[in-house]
Amino acid sequence: MDFTRPAPPSGRALRSYFLISALICAAICAVILITLLGQTGPVLSHNPASLFGTVWNPNLGQYGIIPMLYGSIVVMVIAMAIALPLGVLTAIYIAETRSARLRGIIKSALEVLAGIPSIVYGLIGVAYISVWVAKGLDLQTGRLILTAGLILAVMILPTILTLTEDAISNVPVIQRENARALGLYRHEVILDVVLPHARRDILAAGLLALGRALGETMAVMLVIGSLDRLPSPIFNVLSSGQTITSKLGRELGESAFGSAHFSALVLMGLILVLITLTLTGAAQWLINRRPNGVEAIYD
């Protein structure tokens, strides 16, 4: 018998098809990064120092990205500051409730919400939230950094809620029962046993939500007011602003390919990808990591 018979030609063709698809899938991420990197040349050779400035004025060759970076971060912080506590507390209630029906209803509502496209959130922001903010705070316009933060909070709430609820439900029942058998109150069981047990997954959920908040374009773009300046005073979230994504969404169509203007936008995009990739990577790492660590003898 001939054990060394070569693979039939169709086999070889199949094999190369598998290989090529795998290579494409694995390489796209790198291709995207390289493509973006390739377009950053003009602004870097033109006036790199202006990048770190606070003025964005393409006509004068000034491409300060600080206002956009600041806007992205502030909007993200507002969204997280609202959605994280709200999501975690709600998840605690859902995970601890005895009503299977309530849990079922909320879980399916969340699934529906997670499927709503971001442009629809943008529409809701324009039609309702910005109007309410303007009326409620008696301002001329409701298109503010705060509004963008609010709409983002609403958008990432389902993500945080679902993932946190999963994390809490995954804490072994036996851990809770042992804690309860020692006469701990419900809140003590949750704060001292359940949350520490689930904290890594909750943190990962938070990081994923952060990445989503940073990368969100349409909803933010429609409600943030598109003002390329740092608010004054700096923490005034009741002023219009700009995030990296909203900037890209507004100006990519208007800037000439290959110009310093375009390449400044690309550079911002590159910064955005690097931040979100870091966040996703950190979340993945947290999820995969094994628990470890020694603590103090007494509390």
Binding site: A7, P8, G11, L14, R15, Y17, F18, L19, I20, S21, A22, I24, C25, A26, I28, C29, A30, L36, P85, L86, L89, T90, Y93, E96, A109, L110, L113, G115, I116, P117, S118, I119, V120, G122, L123, I124, A127, Y128, V154, Y185, H187, L191, G211, G215, T217, M218, L222, L248, G249, G253, F257, G258, L265, V266, L272, V273, T276, L277, T280, G281
Partner: protein, 283 residues
């Protein structure tokens, strides 16, 4: 110091308040979309082309354009996801290489959607000189769908018991034949589910296609690969920017409702595909 019992009450009140607030938000979102959408929807609206930059008339071309782009994207992504998943689960045996591949997929999944638009704008529209083209939009959406489709397929392949493979090898089947006759048929449900979930997400995407594949008005049925189409998300974007006009806003809600109905359709299809296509051995 607050007593333990008092803390218990405070904590319970806090979680209940959070639940109340969250439920209000969920109810408001769903309610707004359904009520405003239902007011705007009619047969005429669904089957008439738009007029006056979309603020009058219907959304027939937008529906057509959206479906055209995402279904084409699905057709492009399917073979790539299938091949890559087979290679990942049947050929790569080295853990480091597996990790690297997974990392690339997770990375791709974490790239913000606007970046895909930027990438398409640079590489296809400008460097390859395609101009605004619905087909380029489909390619970009296909890339966005790849991680979802691949992960679902790979996890389905992981679910196939090793004895299947061992038996196939024992019968003298080559790796390729095993993949073709055993692995792919047994993991088809993963691919279909992943693709449908990917489609549900892709059809709602605006940022990746708005610079490369769509025209805001006046686009009809394209006669070549290199023409823009109108899509629902970009239509909503255009209308949302004229929110001061009640008619435009009304149409925006109608388009949103239609878009969400399409998303729900793909999600439901994914749900049923999973149930129907799951091989007997895994039920």
């Amino acid at each position: 110091m607050i007593s333990r019992a008092a803390k218990e009450h405070i904590f319970a009140a806090a979680t209940r308040a959070a639940l109340g607030l969250s439920v209000c938000i969920l109810a408001f979102l769903l309610g707004a979309i359904i009520v405003r959408g239902a007011q705007a929807i009619s047969l005429d609206f669904l089957f008439m082309p738009s007029r006056d930059f979309g603020s009058r008339g219907g959304i027939s071309y937008q529906i057509f354009g959206s479906l055209l782009i995402v279904l084409t994207a699905g057709l492009i992504a399917a073979p790539l996801a299938l091949g890559a998943s087979v290679y990942r689960s049947e050929y790569i045996k080295n853990t480091a290489a597996q990790r690297l591949f997974d990392l690339a997929l997770y990375g791709l999944n974490g790239v913000p959607s606007i970046i895909f638009g930027l990438f398409g704008l640079i590489l296809f529209v400008n460097i390859f000189g395609t101009g605004l083209s619905w087909f380029v939009g489909a390619v970009i959406l296909a890339i966005m769908m790849l991680p979802t489709a691949c992960m679902a397929t790979i996890s389905a392949m992981r679910g196939i018991d090793t004895p299947y493979r061992e038996n196939a090898y024992a019968l003298g089947l080559t790796r390729e034949q095993t993949a073709l006759r055993i692995i792919i048929p047994q993991s088809l449900h993963g691919l279909v589910t992943g693709l449908l979930i990917g489609l549900a997400r892709a059809i709602g995407e605006t940022a990746p296609i708005m610079f490369i594949a769509t025209a805001f008005s006046g686009a009809g049925v394209p006669s070549s690969l290199a023409e823009p189409v109108a899509t629902l998300p970009t239509h909503i974007l255009a209308l949302a920017q004229q929110a001061a006009d009640p008619a435009a806003l009304q149409n925006a809600w109608g388009a949103s409702f239609t878009l969400i109905a399409l998303v729900a359709m793909f999600s439901l299809a994914a749900f049923f595909a999973r149930a129907r296509l799951l091989p007997l051995s895994q039920r």
